[in-house]
Amino acid sequence: MRRRIRAATALAALLALTGCGIQETDVIEAGGPATLDVLPAREHRMMAFFLSPDGLLVPSPRSVDTRVWDGAVGPESGTAPEPPSTAKTVAALLAGPNAAEKRAGLSNEPSLPDPSTVAGTEMSGGTARLTLDTPLTPLTEIARQQLVCTIAYAESDNGGVPVVLVGTDGARPAATCDNGARRPAPTVTPSETG
């Protein structure tokens, strides 16, 4: 008798497991992201990384050079346009989001220092270096990422440059921008992401 009950239970379980109609699922990954080509060229933008309300780094490019539209620089004039300097870009980041960025809910990590503390930036041996006239200890990890990403993307197209932060209390080890970006591996020819 018990065996019969067990068999019936197994059958019922099988039927229940099957279910009818459309079942819910877990989240399933399917394919890659949508990749858009909407960033202005590095020569014509100043890109700062702000924080979204979800704590994610959101790039905000600002067109800075109107000369390209006037024809003052560019292929027609024969003058190669220069990207805005890293120091200016960092100053723009530390100055905080503008009106449009604020409307989208973007903000700065509060522990970021004042723009006036930027003592200088330099690029040497493939590593960018930012010197600040303030201690680095109060900086949170996410604030440091804002700085690192902003500098990395100011110094290179794909943000792959290591960045060393130097404060009055010493230097931090070189760090790279960790914003979920896809970069081609340094040794391998163009990536598979397309």
Binding site: I22, G32, T35, P53, L56, G180, A181, T193
Partner: protein, 520 residues
Amino acid sequence: MTGPRTGGAARARRRGADRAAAGAADVRPGSAVRPAARDRRIAPFGLRTRLVLAFLLVAAVSAGTTATLTYREARSAVLASAQDTAVASFREQVETLAPELPIDPVLLREYLFVIASKSKPHPWVVFAEYGSLRVSSGTNPASTVITPDLRRMTLARSRGSFQRVVSAGVPYLTIGVPVLVRTGPGSSMPSGLVLFAVMRMTDEEANVDALVTAARDGALPGLAAALIPALIAARGVLRPVRQLRRAARSMGSGRLDTRIPVRGSDELADLARTFNESAGQLERSVDELQQAEARARRFASDVSHELRTPLAGMLAVTEVLDEDADGLDPDTARAVRLISAETGKLAVLVEDLMEISRFDARAAELNTDEVDVGETVRKTLDHRRWGERVRTDLPDGIRARLDPRRFDVVVANLVGNALRHGSEPVTVRLSVQGGLLVVEVADSGPGIRPEVLPHIFERFYKADAARTRSTGSGLGLAITQENVRLHGGTIRAANGPDGGAVLTVEIPLHGPHGSQEATA
């Protein structure tokens, strides 16, 4: 102490004789067929039901499993096709966007309308998140269907994801695609913009429901078809089983020559063969027993017969001696009288033995006649000169169909017993109760001890073990019982409320009926 043992043996012998008589009466060689109404009924959990259920279960499981697997595969295919199309086309649509960063909500809304208008395969509503902005192509800027899991996955990973959600009974496909911006050849980074599409899967639901219907419509005829072999198989098993049951019942009712036809060579045929062999052995054993019994019975009968002739001579001689005893000297006279008395008893015993032998051999005949019972009883008492010693309650006009001679033996035995073992007054009471003639013989003695009551009709049973010398033959009540039985009646002994023994005889008024008349 020899009484009970002899009685038991005699009882066993009688039973054997009954059975032999019943067997001899209606032997039908090979009779295995006796269609009874209850053979046809279907037991709630009989073999047939179980077999049919087992067949149906197997059919249901196989049909169900097949249908289930097919259904699952087909459902997966239907859903996968819709999902893949939707995910691919949604990403394709998102990639046609060219928003300016940071996002302008008004412009973004325009873009979402464009994407929504190119829904594929079904209309979808597009939701966008950027920073704290929430924009959609529908009426609500944020969706209630998109789960936090999908949102978190889409924000955290640079990959598209989807999830099926059932909300209020309606299945939805929710797709999340993060927007990346290209930062160079082969490199990109999250832009902070993520887009979600929410699509109702009503068409897919209809398709899946159609699959269920199809699976059911396929499985039910399959089950119905399985019923036919189930019934055939059940019939194949049940027919031999039914035969076996009938044969067993037939054997139980005494027809030991019952055999089952053996067909085929399966387990059931083996069973039938074994049954037949066992029945044969049983028949042989019973036959031997019956022969042994018949021999013993014949021996008793022969002995009685052989004793009768010399006894007749002895009786004649003792009568003469009795008459002359007065002229002999006192010692010799006492011896002669003793011999005479004992010879008389021996003659009674031999007569009783012969009577019992006739009963055992079923040779006792019932010669019924319509008589006035009261008159008959009165005659019996008068004949034995018990008129003064017995009180009677004999209503006139009770007529019954009886064998007068045997009824006389019954009444005489009962009254004689009462006078001998009980004490006077002895009462004979006659009445009619529901078609039965009731004769009650009661005495005023101490009654019968309870432990003796069940045995008093046994042959040679002595109520008092110490009393080795009885005035009776020890067969009186046994013969009485046989006579009552021959009439189709019953006899029972009990103690009355006043302490005396009461023996009650009940005989059908209209004579014995049924087989007893035929077999007697």
